[in-house]
């Protein structure tokens, strides 16, 4: 088994869930539980593919996917933040809408081919033997996803805006009393989460598979949601979680292809086992790390 190819494959496989999970992390940090990640991802997948095929530019495809999924997520925001609908039910509805909508839009794009997204060989770094091919000759979205993790971490930890976002998520009553616009902050966080999920979806349809097929995200959005919990709402934890999930999938397939005798079922199961274990450890410790107002409705009058 060639470790260079393996690590490169893991990075590609983990990127869609990493993007979706880091977006959802920001949404949840603001106190909103959006279960519609799968629906936003698949919408991103179809819009990204459609735009890339029509314009011939994968870059525009990614951009369009982010915008489309952000718009879709704002419909969730409108319902939950202004009309105070139940977040869990609305999020599930968003997934169903996304799946149906994408099937409708995508029916004309079945069997078409996506324009190729060129690999970005980082000068100098990509010439390093072994490490260069392993880490520094991917497409730009892989680097973007890693940069986003760092940016989100720095934003939440070091900026005033990040502090406000966390305050809104921890205790919206107090944040409101201090004069922060709870609903506006949350709408922005929801849109960011949508845009990231859209990028993740477009990565599946433009790079990882590359084609459009109905239902092609096949549950990646739910894994992204699990990763946010797994990370106990920490950006670096999201990175670890996404690479763990992506890694196990790829290693499992590679072990099979290499003809080893490790039981497949055990490997496929392992990320979920680890998630349960982490949850047990977190709850045993008492501090689960979830934002205090997560999933609770807010109205300025209450």
């Amino acid at each position: 088994m060639d470790p260079v190819l393996l690590v490169a494959s893991i990075m590609v496989s983990a990127t869609p869930i990493l993007l979706a999970a880091i977006g959802e992390l920001v949404t949840e940090k603001s106190g909103v539980l959006n279960l519609g990640v799968e629906g936003m991802m698949i919408t991103g997948a179809v819009m990204g593919f459609a735009i890339a095929v029509s314009t011939g530019s994968p870059l525009l495809g990614f951009l369009g996917a982010a915008v489309a999924s952000a718009v879709l997520s704002l419909s969730f925001g409108l319902l939950t933040q202004y009309l105070l609908s139940n977040q869990v039910a609305t999020g599930l509805g968003l997934t169903l809408v996304g799946l149906g909508l994408s099937a409708l839009i995508g029916s004309n794009y079945e069997g078409q081919r996506a324009p190729n997204l060129p690999k970005l060989d980082i000068p100098v770094l990509s010439d390093i033997p072994v490490l260069g091919r392993m880490l520094f000759s991917h497409d730009f979205v892989v680097y973007l996803s890693l940069a986003l993790v760092v940016a989100v971490w720095a934003f939440l930890k070091y900026t005033r805006a990040g502090l406000i976002l966390r305050a809104v998520g921890e205790d919206h009553e107090s944040a409101h009393a201090l004069g922060y616009k709870v609903v506006r902050v949350r709408m922005a966080a929801i849109a960011f989460g949508g845009a990231c999920a859209g990028l993740g979806g477009a990565y599946v349809s433009l790079v990882r598979v590359p084609q459009w097929t109905e239902g092609m995200t096949a549950g990646a959005g739910w894994i992204a949601l699990a990763i946010v919990v797994f990370s106990s709402w920490r950006p670096l934890g999201v990175l670890v979680g996404a690479y763990l999930f992506g890694g196990v999938t790829v290693i499992q397939l590679n072990l099979q292809a290499a003809g080893t005798t490790v039981p497949v079922e055990l490997l496929s199961m392992s990320p979920y086992l680890i998630t349960i274990l982490v949850l047990v450890v977190i709850s045993a410790r008492g501090a689960h790390g979830a934002p205090g107002s997560l999933g609770r409705p807010f109205h300025a009058s209450s």
Binding site: V12, V209, E214, Q256
Partner: protein, 358 residues
């Protein structure tokens, strides 16, 4: 009084409407259940298209109802019950995993006829129909062996069921005919349709040194990945012509339409009887797509000859001597596998490495 008269008129009108529906119900309703979306580009799409050809053949004499993306298992039983309740006369269940649900529902609806694809269980009102895909696998397997430069071919398995195991064995035996040094690597996905997983599996096989990959799943994702890598593959269940001339260098095409027409005709004639049918290249149920790409002349001649020989019955893809994986003898020199063993095949032939998951 007026009220009562209105009521009478209303009920008369209602009676007419009911009569009308009853009349519409006289047209036999034919149901189809698919495991994936009808535009998956492969297995389900081909069943759907065959169903549409059948519908075109009969026109208004029948009515077709379809349900796509039905998971195998308990959900299938619900969908089938629903279809039977809504008045379907004949239901085609088009995936292996529908076998037990079909048998269960058929027991509750003795007047409804069922046709289950690729299974082995039958009942008085349940037929089984399948195609001898392994005949097609012999040809694509030979091509894979001949085209591989790394002497390693990959096989993406869906579920470890006899149909898939037959495909692996047939592919390997014939790849070896073309290239004695060839090895086959098998990856099991436990799904029929998951493009991202199929793409990852293809990539894993390529990373492990395979340069020709045969897929036993339903989407075109493996071909999309093979195209990027400059490797070869085959259309599966459908021609997948959009990937001509490479990476797709040939294909196994399922043609169900003649069978569907025949069976629906039997229902219309009242001559439908339960049976268990298994048709191959000779009967036209398994088609071999056009050979494309840089296939050498002698290989082309060989596979064309092989196709004709299989069609005429002169050659059986499982002809001895063949040993089982553990080295024990299965078929003696010149011996041909019987259908019973093939239908329940649960072992690899000698030379295939790895074990079959439970």
């Amino acid at each position: 009084m007026i009220k009562r008269r209105t009521l009478l008129a209303a009920s008369a009108a209602l009676g007419l409407v009911m009569g009308g529906t009853a009349f519409a119900q006289d047209v036999p309703k034919i149901g189809f259940v698919y495991v994936g979306p009808v535009n998956d580009g492969g297995w389900s799409q081909h069943h759907h298209e065959s169903a549409m050809q059948m519908k075109e053949h009969f026109g208004d004499a029948i009515e077709v109802i379809e349900q796509e993306s039905v998971p195998e298992g308990a959900d299938a039983e619900r969908v089938l019950t629903q279809m039977a309740l809504s008045g379907a006369d004949l239901i085609f269940t088009t995936s292996f995993g529908y076998m037990d649900p079909t048998i269960n529902v058929a027991e509750k609806f003795p007047d409804v006829k069922f046709e289950h694809a690729t299974g082995y269980k039958t009942a008085d009102n349940v037929s089984a129909y399948s195609a001898r895909f392994y005949e097609g696998r012999a040809i694509t397997g030979y091509l894979a062996g001949a085209m591989s430069e790394t002497n390693k071919i990959g096989y993406i398995g869906s579920f470890p069921i006899p149909e898939v195991i037959r495909g692996i064995n047939s592919s390997y035996l014939h790849a070896k005919q073309a290239n004695p040094d060839v090895e086959i690597a098998v990856v099991w996905l436990n799904t029929w349709f998951d493009p991202a997983k199929e793409a990852d599996a293809t990539q894993a096989l390529l990373d492990q040194g395979a340069d020709v990959v045969l897929a036993h799943t339903d989407s075109t994702a493996p071909l999309a990945v093979l195209e990027k890598a400059g490797a070869y593959g085959f259309g599966q269940a459908a021609d997948m012509a959009e990937y001509k001339p490479t990476p797709r260098i040939s294909s196994i095409i399922d043609d169900w339409a003649p069978y569907y027409i025949e069976r629906v005709q039997a229902v219309l004639d009242g001559t439908w009887e339960s049976h268990n049918t298994w048709q191959g290249i000779g009967d036209g149920m398994v088609g071999i797509g056009e050979f494309t790409g840089p296939i050498p002349e002698d290989v082309l001649a060989h596979v064309t000859q092989m196709k004709d020989d299989i069609a005429s019955g002169a050659y059986h893809p499982f002809t001895g001597p063949i040993n089982k994986q553990d080295g024990s003898a299965w078929l003696a020199e010149g011996e041909v596998a019987d259908d019973g063993t093939l239908a329940g095949m649960n072992f690899y032939v000698e030379g295939v490495s790895g074990s079959i998951p439970n």
